[in-house]
Symmetry: C2
Subunit: 223 residues, 2 copies
Amino acid sequence: MLCGAKVTDEPTKIAILAFDGITALDLVGPYEALSRVPNVEISVCGKAAGVCRTEAGTLGVVADLPISSVSGSDILLVPGGGPKGISMLIQDGEILEWIRSMSREAKWTASVCTGSLVLGAAGLLENRNATTHWRAKDFLPRFGATYVNERVVESEKILTAAGVTAGIELGLRLVEKIAGLEIARAVELSMHYDPKPPFGTGSPKKADSETIQTAVEGLAKYS
Amino acid sequence: MLCGAKVTDEPTKIAILAFDGITALDLVGPYEALSRVPNVEISVCGKAAGVCRTEAGTLGVVADLPISSVSGSDILLVPGGGPKGISMLIQDGEILEWIRSMSREAKWTASVCTGSLVLGAAGLLENRNATTHWRAKDFLPRFGATYVNERVVESEKILTAAGVTAGIELGLRLVEKIAGLEIARAVELSMHYDPKPPFGTGSPKKADSETIQTAVEGLAKYS
């Protein structure tokens, strides 16, 4: 059967970067899809091993390995985060060099939300189409990328996802690449991904100006 | 402004249960929505403080507080997990008593996915409509509940969500309850929740029998 056939193969190695200021769903959306695939080996890693806190500070996720001990992965995934967390990442030479090195070896390099700005800062998005959270789209051209308003944008071996929840779709697309369409369809079912957004305001095109202003000015702020 | 007006109010206190075997997205979906609301105080708690691992074991989330130190929350949220994690919870008298006690005081008690079975084991779903992951629906009647095939089911002050990704919709519904429609619309936009499931197989009604079989038999198994 499917599981049995896979067990004798080498596992698909997936490295996910965690950091302080991370948006938890940017990590967990794709994690949830990828962890359902038979024979994957997922490593959550950080600049150092230890707990990384979200931007709000009220949830900790564990980086089990330091990036210095992680290489040779099939997939590298860079989640997004708040302005403070992302600013720190894009100024961190060690992180950026690790991302470049990992990406050279990886079959797929992927980001969610503002994670694409980190790929950009690492020089991976020059002359590429890419996407990000709608609020961050004007940053992409600074890294030589062209913003595309889609949930997931694929440019050769680099996949970028739009904001936050789009990481679920990125995860499902990566599942298809590593395990095929039938497993990917089953993972979507297993995640019960039959969404019905309650308010229908999930993109700037669908929201009115008041809602856009509230999203920019009226939600919780952390820094 | 909205933020300023909220600061002088008491924060809305939200307790989220973490445990070994948890489905990470069941916790993080609603967390991501709720943490964007001005003036909330979210506590992730476990039987003991410390790291809880997902069913696959490859992601750790931190329970910052032991349940013994958490009371008087406005919202109690119980995420779901794999069979092993949920079996442990529904046999744990201390956890179930804490859930009952918290629920008596809370304005809203909520679950995601198989978390509703834990609410059921605590006796909270008797004679109520409720939902859960499609694979777990036959368990609900054992707790006196009637399964309803919707993303989020509301029965007085108890809200249950369907599988995994439905926790995002649950979180958005809770945001509306505690912060009003305009903040909830803005949170949906802030989460870029304009989903486009790539395969269209996210519920048993939409998937064919082969995909259902693969979801049940052909994905990663942990125990």
